[in-house]
């Protein structure tokens, strides 16, 4: 990950204090304390985010931009302040490079439908990896079908790590876009995105990074990564649903045609011809989820106060602890064992289907995700129909992973 300061030991996280910030964690599930291990699907929200949105609706809400009255100006300021917070979080060069969208999925579709349609012709290629989430496969597939182009897939090894040498070989003179995930949602593998952008840059190919699973685990520096596009969703970052971000280099965003037409994205409209607003507004047709942007800003403030390095260190500890616990269980196979990995523990049990595992764990108050994790090609690669996935976040504890391991053993006993 890009979160640095490896040399300086980060002061440890006060998890008890953090857990008090998340009201949803204070509940029982099936008579057990809730153990929430599904943050990779969507993270829980701290009171600070809930309050920020509630206060915004209670005090500052109005439609944004163009309102001459005080309330609209206040709402606009809050919305644009959130954009600036995102800019700082990504270390982007300018706030106008931050486009608010509904989520990672919409961000990727936006790039495929605009930049992709402008530049991809019959016989051209889009290069992705075998570990992509469906949202970084299907938009490119639609584009390829539309253009008669080809989707090219770089393989992953048995640990679930990208085979960079193969990736490089697949970068061809016909490659028009590289679209890769920063962190795999199903496997936890962290991709060598800096290497990927370097290889692509040498060949003049733009790179989109799906950061949905990366942002909760550390600060991102899009300039250091040298990517052209970076996409993420607020809801995986302890912010609300309904909003996400597309970072795009300003030259690219400026050269791209609009994505959706409507209000807010125009400069002038007549029945003969309309002209477009400046970026990022050119890509923000219609009234956005204003309060969600405010909530995202509050989530970034919250994480910034705790410290991204401390969060990363805590998660690394949980990943190591959890990996050792699960590896010690006979009949359990971890799916995704890359050397560079985020805090995701995906596994299968001999003779027990993940769906049954999920139901039994649920009865113990443990919330995990079971299924293909919107990454069916990954399941095929590892020849499993599905996995059980436990994913951890800053509010999880070693004791919760102990509970997970105990419940897994119980499941095995039941199916023995």
């Amino acid at each position: 990950m890009t979160a640095s300061n490896e040399q300086m030991p980060a002061p440890s996280l006060d998890v008890d204090r953090i857990r008090r910030d998340f009201p949803i964690l204070r509940q029982q599930s099936h008579g057990h304390p809730l153990v929430f291990l599904d943050s990779a699907a969507s993270a829980q929200k701290p009171q600070q985010v809930i309050d920020a949105m509630s206060e915004f609706y209670s005090r500052d809400y109005a439609n944004i931009h163009r309102g001459v009255y005080e309330l609209s100006q206040r709402a606009t300021q809050a919305f644009e302040a959130a954009r600036e917070k995102v800019r700082a979080f990504l270390n982007a060069g300018a706030a106008r490079e931050i486009v608010f969208v509904r989520g990672t999925t919409e961000a990727i579709n936006l790039v495929a439908m605009t930049h992709g349609r402008e530049h991809v012709r019959a016989g051209d290629e889009i290069l992705i990896t075998a570990m992509e989430h469906h949202s970084n496969i299907v938009p490119w597939q639609l584009l390829c079908e539309d253009r008669g182009a080809n989707l090219v897939v770089a393989p992953i090894d048995d640990d679930g790590a990208l085979m960079l040498g193969e990736f490089e070989k697949l970068l061809s003179p016909r490659t028009r876009m590289v679209a890769v995930t920063h962190v795999s949602n199903a496997l936890g593998s962290v991709n060598p995105v800096r290497e990927i952008t370097r290889l692509a840059r040498e060949r003049g190919v733009p790179v989109l990074i799906d950061g949905a699973q990366a942002v909760p685990h550390g600060r991102i520096d899009v300039r250091e990564l040298d990517c052209d596009f970076y996409a993420f969703s607020s809801h995986k970052l302890f912010g609300p649903t309904g909003i996400g971000v597309l970072y795009g280099r300003s030259e690219l965003l400026e050269s791209m045609p609009p994505y959706q037409g409507g209000g807010e994205m125009i400069l002038t409209v007549s029945f003969e011809k309309s002209t477009w607003a400046e970026i990022p507004h050119k890509f923000e047709a219609g009234t956005p989820d204003i309060a969600a942007a405010v909530g995202l800003g509050a989530a970034l403030d919250y994480l910034g106060e705790i410290g991204f390095d401390r969060i990363a260190a805590h998660e690394r500890d949980l990943l190591e602890y959890g990996t050792a616990l699960l590896e010690a269980i006979p009949g359990l196979r971890l799916i995704g064992t890359a050397a560079d990995k985020a805090a995701v523990l995906s596994f299968v049990l001999d003779g027990v289907h993940p769906h049954d595992v999920g139901t039994i764990l649920d009865q113990e108050g443990i919330a995990v995700r079971t299924g293909h994790h919107c990454a069916q090609p990954v399941m095929e690669r590892f020849e499993v129909p599905a996995t059980t996935r436990a994913s951890v976040a800053l509010y999880n504890t070693r004791a919760e992973l102990d509970a997970l391991a105990r419940a897994i053993v119980k499941t095995q006993e039941m199916f023995a």
Binding site: D356, T359, I360, A386, M414
Partner: protein, 150 residues
């Protein structure tokens, strides 16, 4: 925990481990595929009718314990029945697992299928239990579409 024991009764665990009529009937007169997109469960059901009677039935596929055991027990309970009886059983089974009506767990007519009475306490697992049945029904109805549990 008692609800869980009710769901995973020993009969279900046994049929999951040793599914009956697992395979494919060569030259089957009826067949269909079923798919549960929620968990990725896939099933292929083949049947041979002799007149109006289910002479043989088999299934292949990969799924959770509930869906595998349900398919296995289904093949045992429909063999030798008329199509009309099978359809009636489909309705009873559906009511048993969804709890839509007041059908008693262990009501007569369901036989061994009564072990699925615990499924109604787990709404997200109902589709696991009914996938094989929907697939079998669409095979009998000669539908070309992949059976889903909607």
């Amino acid at each position: 925990m008692s609800e869980l024991r009710e769901l995973y009764q020993s009969v279900i665990l046994d049929h999951n481990k040793h599914p009956r009529n697992f395979g494919e009937i060569d030259g089957a007169s009826h067949y269909a595929d079923g798919f549960n997109p929620l968990c990725g469960d896939k099933i292929h059901v083949t049947l041979t009718l002799e007149g109006d009677i289910v002479k043989s039935v088999a299934f292949t596929g990969a799924g959770c314990a509930i869906s595998t055991a349900s398919a296995s027990l289904m093949t045992e309970s429909i063999k030798g029945k008329t199509v009309a009886q099978v359809m009636q059983l489909f309705d009873s089974f559906h009511e048993l697992v969804t709890g839509d009506t007041k059908i008693e767990v262990g009501a007569p007519g369901l036989g061994k299928l009564a072990v699925f009475g615990g499924v109604r306490e787990f709404p997200v697992r109902v589709k696991c239990a009914t996938l094989a049945w929907h697939t079998m029904k669409s095979a009998l109805e000669g539908s070309d579409e992949i059976a889903k549990t909607e």
